[in-house]
């Protein structure tokens, strides 16, 4: 399995997923690919991070207790107009989701289980 080269310029990334195993693995994987990753496992922590930190990319799980991914994406767009937004979801039917995020401009949606190559492509554009 091959992957694109590591990012030459480290970019800050907020990762929020209530699956600890996903959080843990992606944090380690993306960290190894040159991202500065802040990982949280619930919506409220993600909100706090958005309010205090500064992110080039947000990678959000859609279904999370507390604050869901769509709300977080709206919040992210409010804070960082230019940031890249990637949503990951285990839902089969994403039609409603796509309608909800349409006003947010360019947002990439990845369905679980996704391939890491696709994730990297979405994050790096």
């Amino acid at each position: 399995m091959t992957m694109p080269d590591v990012n030459p310029v480290p970019r800050s990334l907020l990762l929020a997923d209530d699956e600890p195993a996903i959080c843990r693995s992606l944090e380690s994987f993306l960290g190894g690919r040159g991202f500065r990753v802040s990982a949280v496992t619930d919506g409220s922590s993600a909100l706090r991070a958005l309010a205090t930190g500064s992110f080039d990319i947000v990678l959000l799980d859609v279904n999370m207790p507390g604050t869901d991914g769509v709300t977080l994406a709206r919040e992210a767009r409010r804070h960082y107009a230019e940031c890249r937004i990637v949503l990951i979801t285990g839902l089969l039917d994403t039609e409603r989701l796509r309608a909800d995020i349409a006003p947010l401009g360019a947002v990439t949606v990845l369905s679980k289980p996704f391939h890491l190559k696709d994730l990297v492509a979405a994050l790096e554009g």
Binding site: D18, G90, L92
Partner: protein, 664 residues
């Protein structure tokens, strides 16, 4: 033979001189002597007598002659009467004397005969009716000679009286019956009407006579042709006729009459006399019209109703089966009327309708019932039946009235709704399962991809750790699968008498240390003898689930109390086991979705072991309590902890019900 004297007067005067003794009463005279014949004739006038009376200028009067009939009529001998005129005058009824005297005076004045009827005392002393007539003749000396005749008319008077009485009675009877009669003498073209006909036609008898024109005029114009035709046909075919027609009065009122007529014919078939009766049946007709109208209206209501209407008599035989019933049942009225429900519709017994009909006969009004109706076409429809007793005006139950409404459409709509709700629930469940598995697969996929990568890129995590994660997720998938199965296809629990205290102890035995390690105090208040019928393993699973939930709810505070208390509610015949915590509590919004599969709040406070709720714990717990004939109640407020109560039916209740069902 008698000696007859000479006279210058008329023949009758000749008899004056007749010797009464010589009168032969039995045999007519044999010779040609006219005087003998006249005398014989005078003595044999049937029921009568003749006489000659002389009224002198001075006013004195005496009989010159009376025939032998005087003894039959008055009981006086002729000789006596000839000697004393008063004998006969005194026989006249005092009430009639004046009238008779007046007639005599008038006749004497005008010298014309008089005639009158008067009551006269007879031989037996009783009054009888006589016809008296006499012609005055003036004599040169100024005296008046009266030649008179008296006839006994008692029989005629009686017959007349009887006739008058019978006519009076007939008229009265006709008046009472509203019946008039008429007679048309065709040979002489003479029409007679009884009083009642004048009254019906409202024609003044004194001013107008009976006429066919008046009759036709009274008939309602629309009925005239039919009446004419009926009469004509009856003459033509020589048969009587009867018909009802209307009369139109001058003021626009309408009367109904029933006309009957019969005609007699001569030998050659020529009509002689038509006789008929006319009866005023307006009142009867109005009453019967009103009745017919009421019946017709009742029928229209029954026939037009959109709901089925059934009427049963006291023997529960069908009396009414309206078209709506025919439509609902697909069975025609003629197939059910007069028969009993169980004969026609055997299914009515099992669905409970028959029993309700008997309740109605007992005067009760049972609740509405809905039941499936098997149709002759093989289809099924649904219907509701609202039956009630049919009371008569004296408060007796004379049958049952049933209103049947077809509810197939509503029933199908309800079923469709239930089906769609079930589908929606299945859809939600499926989507929850898919989401859960996609998360598991995502983890597995990430780990396998990372394992396959260059170790330099996979970070600090070792291959063993990644494999362990994959193993963990496989376990998790398996748990989700069995949870789904528990909800989707519950298997009957293996019930046994279990002490509640034992169930609680077994759960706490494995959790007490861990709870203590998290600063959680456990308080137990369970009576030692309290029992429930339970599948021990499953109830312990529920208890463990609730204890772990309580622990998770108290984690943010870092300490707390879990209390487990059981009581027996004798009224409700229930055993309640309450598990309360002092944790963060829940909002209304969360409470509403608490038992929904895949609903979880656990992500927010995920445990140190990476465990998170799969959203099935409470859903499965709820299913388990339902399998036990019980339920779970929950109370909570944000910040004030939560309490879950497991509610079991008392063991005696469960066993009692089972015994009643004939189970061991």
């Amino acid at each position: 033979m008698s000696r007859v004297g000479e006279t210058r007067e008329r023949g009758m005067a000749v008899l004056m001189t007749v010797d009464r003794a010589e009168v032969d009463r039995g045999n007519p005279p044999a010779g040609n002597d006219p005087a003998s014949h006249l005398r014989f004739l005078g003595d044999h006038i049937p029921g009568g007598m003749i006489y000659q009376l002389l009224m002198e200028p001075g006013g004195g009067r005496r009989f010159l002659y009376v025939s032998a009939g005087v003894s039959r009529l008055h009981g006086h001998a002729a000789e006596d009467v000839l000697g004393d005129v008063r004998l006969l005058y005194e026989d006249i009824h005092p009430g009639d004397r004046e009238r008779l005297a007046a007639a005599e005076v008038e006749a004497a004045r005008t010298m014309t005969p008089f005639a009158c009827e008067a009551r006269v005392r007879g031989a037996d002393g009783c009054y009888r009716w006589s016809y008296l007539t006499s012609e005055p003749m003036a004599r040169p000396d100024g005296a008046i000679l009266w030649n008179g005749l008296e006839l006994d008319i008692t029989e005629r008077k009686r017959a007349e009286g009887a006739l008058r009485e019978s006519e009076r009675q007939l008229n009265e009877a006709q008046r009472l019956a509203g019946l008039g009669s008429w007679e048309l003498d065709l040979a002489h073209d003479r029409l007679t009407w009884s009083d009642e006909i004048y009254r019906f036609f409202e024609i003044d008898r004194e001013r107008f006579g009976a006429s066919y024109e008046a009759f036709l005029d009274a008939i309602h114009p629309e009925d005239r042709a039919a009446v004419n035709e009926a009469y004509r046909t009856s003459l033509e075919r020589m048969i009587p006729y009867a018909m009802t027609h209307r009369l139109l009065m001058k003021d626009g009122r309408i009367k109904f009459v029933e006309e009957r007529c019969e005609t007699t014919f001569d030998a050659s078939g020529r009509p002689l006399v038509s006789r008929g009766t006319v009866q005023d049946i307006t009142e009867r007709k109005t009453a019967s019209d009103a009745l017919a109208e009421a019946l017709a209206f009742r029928n229209q209501v029954i026939q037009s109703a959109r709901d089925g209407i059934i009427v049963y008599d006291r023997d529960l035989r069908y009396r009414v089966w309206n078209p709506a019933m025919e439509r609902i049942s697909e069975v025609c009225a003629h197939e059910v009327l007069g028969r009993r429900p169980e004969e026609v519709f055997p299914f009515l017994g099992p669905v409970g309708v028959l029993q309700r009909l008997h309740c109605c006969l007992a005067g009760e009004t049972p609740d509405l019932i809905e039941f499936p109706v098997p149709l002759p076409s093989g289809r099924f429809s649904w219907a509701t039946d609202a039956s009630s007793p049919l009371w008569d005006h004296e408060g007796r139950v004379i049958g049952v009235i049933g209103i049947v409404r077809e509810t197939t459409a509503q029933h199908e709509a309800e079923e469709a709704l239930v089906r769609s709700e079930r589908l929606a629930a299945v859809g939600k469940l499926a989507s929850g399962v898919a989401h859960e598995f996609n998360n598991i697969l995502a983890i597995v996929r990430i780990e396998t991809q990372l394992l396959a990568m260059d170790p330099a890129l996979e970070g600090k995590t070792t291959a063993e750790e990644r494999l362990a994660t994959i193993e963990e997720q496989t376990e998790r998938g398996s748990r989700v699968a069995s949870g789904i199965m528990a909800i989707a296809r519950p298997t009957p629990p293996q019930l046994a008498r279990e002490r509640v205290a034992d169930l609680v102890d077994r759960v706490l035995a494995v959790q007490r240390t861990a709870l203590a390690g998290e600063n959680i105090e456990v308080r137990v208040e369970v009576p030692g003898d309290l029992e429930v019928l339970a599948d021990g393993g499953r109830i312990q699973q529920v208890l463990l689930n609730l204890v772990l939930n309580a622990r998770d709810a108290m984690r943010p505070q870092g300490r707390g109390v879990v209390s487990m208390a059981a009581v027996r509610d004798e009224n409700a015949r229930e055993v309640r086991l309450r598990i309360a915590d002092s944790g963060v509590g829940m909002s209304r919004d969360i409470l509403d979705r608490l038992f929904t599969p895949f609903f979880s709040t656990k992500g927010a406070f995920g445990g140190p072991f990476g465990s998170r709720g799969n959203g099935l714990g409470l859903a499965v717990s709820y299913t388990i309590l339902q399998e036990h004939g019980g339920r779970i109640a929950v109370e909570s407020e944000p910040g004030h902890g939560a309490a879950f109560t497991l509610i079991f039916p008392c063991p005696e209740r469960v066993l009692g019900d089972a015994t009643m069902r004939g189970e061991s």
